[in-house]
């Protein structure tokens, strides 16, 4: 016996959208793709949008936060040029030497991309196109990379995804340049966009993958983006996210990652924009001897809401995980870090540590940190910590005693605080770009003010 739960306006809108769109979504007509969507829709609709009584979502109640479901973004409503893409990225990231893959309003756009054939070391194609005629590896991968149980946002993504990038990097390939997936939204009316990337990194390969999320205009938007990433044995992956969407955006991203043996995975997420941002990261260790170092920098002000939620799952012995997040919160911004580390019975010799630190620039800002350790093995080293505090008064006085006016002194100290985590980005151009963006944010530019 089931009780019919009353749908919110947004949930009703999503249900109408699915009904209207399902026969026209990419992969319609292909039994496998349709099956995936149907199953995902079932999962989603049995629970609806997550709300505060769902433990993982207690700080980010989507039923309350999403009043409406915006209509799906028009696929090719606007003729964008390469210049528009660069403008949306902003001057500091536009100059990055990379293989650029551009997704506009949920569609992979070859003519705006410059993948350079991935130097002949891999393949890239449009996920939307591939759903109608899926290759063997895609069928074995999509929606199967460390899928979170009962996460209705990920399920909703599978049900409604319109496209994105499907990419495979060959075994032992070493890409000379980072791959940069640009997720863009055009200007226009309020819109929703649901994208999906699938990335398979071959054994022993080395790759740096940057995902940017930016807006071209100021239209209100709801974004649901998922990236599934498989890191083959012995691969080295740097996975970076940059989010600077307009202040009318609700940004939901989920990274689902599975690491083979002896993998080195370094992830970094830099969040500046959007009104509401939920950054989900799910990492599973599937092979021994791997390490995952995830760090994040959040700069939020005004009424911005930024929630980073991570689950790191140690299913095998001898792996190392680190999660290190730093947040600068001003105005009435709210920052959340939830990080759960699971150490399963067989995962002996696990070494796991997490730390979250917030720098509060105003009395109105709020920081919530929820570390969780679920340990079922006995020979492990695990720890967690979290701090929040204001700018150090002694340091402030020292700088001001040297003639540095208060706003500038504060900017130096905030930049130093967040710099510690940005320094973890290995790619120098990206690191410099993020430091510059921090400077301009501190100078009062950027979103969310």
């Amino acid at each position: 016996m089931s009780v019919e739960v009353l749908k919110t306006k947004a949930e009703q809108g999503l249900a109408d959208q699915y009904t209207a769109a399902r026969s026209g979504l990419p992969g319609a007509g292909n039994g496998w793709a349709e099956g995936l969507r149907e199953a995902a829709w079932e999962t989603y609709s049995s629970a609806g949008l997550p709300h505060r009584r769902i433990e993982e979502w207690k700080y980010t109640d989507l039923r309350a936060l999403l009043r409406d479901a915006y209509p799906p973004a028009p696929a090719l409503a606007e003729a964008l040029t390469g210049e528009d893409v660069l403008a949306a990225l902003g001057p500091v990231l536009a100059g990055l030497d990379c293989h650029r893959l551009v997704i506009v309003n949920g569609q992979f756009r070859l003519e705006l991309s410059d993948a350079g054939g991935l130097e002949g070391k891999g393949e890239v194609f449009s996920l939307g196109d591939a759903l109608g005629d899926p290759s063997h590896w895609l069928k074995q991968t999509l929606a199967q990379v460390n899928p979170p149980l009962n996460d209705t946002v990920v399920a909703l993504n599978t049900a409604l995804m319109t496209g994105g990038v499907a990419m495979r990097i060959a075994d032992k390939a070493e890409l000379g340049k980072p791959v940069h997936i640009v997720h863009m939204l055009t200007s226009g009316e309020a819109m929703s966009v649901t994208t999906r990337n699938v990335v398979v990194v071959g054994a022993g390969a080395k790759v740096t993958l940057l995902e940017s999320y930016v807006s071209h205009g100021s239209a209100p938007a709801q974004r649901n983006a998922v990236t599934e990433l498989v890191a083959g044995d012995g691969s080295q992956v740097h996975h970076i996210k940059f989010q600077n969407e307009n202040p009318e955006t609700a940004h939901l991203t989920s990274w689902m990652t599975r690491l083979g043996a002896d993998v080195s995975y370094d992830a970094f997420q830099f969040s500046l924009g959007a009104a509401i941002a939920r950054n989900q990261i799910f990492v599973a260790f599937a092979g021994e001897g791997s390490r995952s170092h995830i760090s994040g920098a959040v700069l939020a002000r005004g009424r911005q809401h930024n929630d980073t939620t991570m689950v790191v799952d140690h299913g095998v012995p001898g792996c190392e995980s680190r999660e290190f997040n730093k947040l600068v919160l001003d105005g009435s911004a709210r920052g959340i870090v939830q990080c759960k580390a699971i150490v399963r019975k067989d995962a002996q010799k696990t070494d796991g540590h997490q730390m979250a630190r917030a720098l509060m620039l105003s009395d109105g800002a709020e920081f919530d940190s929820k570390p969780e350790l679920e340990i079922f093995a006995d020979d492990v080293v695990c720890g967690h910590g979290s701090t929040s505090g204001q700018v150090d008064a002694e340091q402030m006085f020292y700088l001001r005693a040297r003639g540095i006016p208060e706003p500038q002194a504060k900017a130096l100290l905030v930049a130093a605080f967040i710099g510690e985590v940005i320094e973890k980005v290995e790619n120098e151009s990206m690191r410099e770009a993020f430091l510059k963006l921090t400077e301009s944010w501190l100078a009062g530019e950027g979103e969310g003010g």
Binding site: R400, A401, R402, P405, E406, A409, L412, L413, A416, G419
Partner: protein, 251 residues
């Protein structure tokens, strides 16, 4: 000139007075030393001059070049030429020493109505001053004071002073923690800045420093009051007899 009149200071939010009526007049071109037992209020006086807001002035006045500085922010005072060499310089992880020096120097130049220095010009000046004070260039590449020894930090303070060329220099125990060679180098650095345009207040526990930086006057601060003032020979006397006699007088 620096004029301190009947200065009473307590810690903000607390009752006990730390400075209990200080009078001191220090003219440009002069160097005055302040000596006194631990906890007598020497650093408090130094902080109050620099504008630290942990302290509250309950009575009296402080003027520098005829201007009341007590309502000015620390950076405004620095722009007016006030410089405090800290007894315990602060470590600031994540702020590169060069970035700091440059921001500080340019802020002060700007406040004085001077142009900012170009990068090469700035580099040249820093290198020159650092060499004089025997501060190695790898120290300048580190975050501000992070992991520096006590003596290294003190040298950084003097380097900053020589870059900023302040007109009122307050040195709070700059000699403690310095080895004999470093003491000479630092004293030379300080003496190089001595001149008719500059006033210096040198806080120290040791007469030895005053052999190098010869003061015009020595004040004894005890329990929040200046209990004696004399010439440079007073320091020698204190070295022999200690502060016992003032302990009584000040109680």
């Amino acid at each position: 000139m620096l004029e301190i009149k009947n200065l009473h200071v307590k810690i903000a939010d607390e009752e006990t007075e730390i400075l209990r009526g200080i009078d001191l007049a220090l003219s440009k071109g002069e160097v005055h030393a302040i000596m006194g037992p631990n906890g007598s209020g020497k650093s408090t006086l130094a902080y109050v001059l620099a504008g630290k807001d942990d302290y509250e002035i309950t009575a009296g006045s402080v003027t520098w070049n005829g201007e009341d500085i007590t309502q000015m922010s620390p950076d405004e005072r620095a722009a007016k030429g006030v410089f405090l060499a800290f007894q315990y310089p602060i470590e600031i992880p994540g702020v590169a020493t060069m970035t700091f020096l440059r921001t500080s120097l340019n802020a002060i130049r700007k406040a004085r109505g001077e142009e900012e220095l170009s990068t090469p010009e700035f580099m040249r000046v820093v290198r020159e001053r650092a060499e004089e004070l025997k501060v190695s260039s790898d120290k300048l590449k580190r975050p501000l004071n992070v992991g520096f020894s006590g003596g290294e930090k003190k040298r950084q303070e003097i380097l900053q002073m020589s870059l900023l060329e302040p007109t009122l220099c307050v040195l709070d125990e700059t000699d403690s923690g310095l080895d004999i060679d470093a003491l000479k180098i630092v004293a030379e650095g300080v003496n190089a800045l001595r001149g008719p345009a500059r006033a210096m207040l040198v806080i120290t526990h040791y007469q030895r420093l005053l052999n190098y930086i010869v003061p015009d006057k020595v004040h004894v601060l005890s329990n929040g009051k200046i209990v004696r003032t004399g010439g440079k020979e007073l320091a020698l006397e204190l070295e022999k007899s200690g502060y016992a006699e003032f302990g009584e007088a000040a109680a």
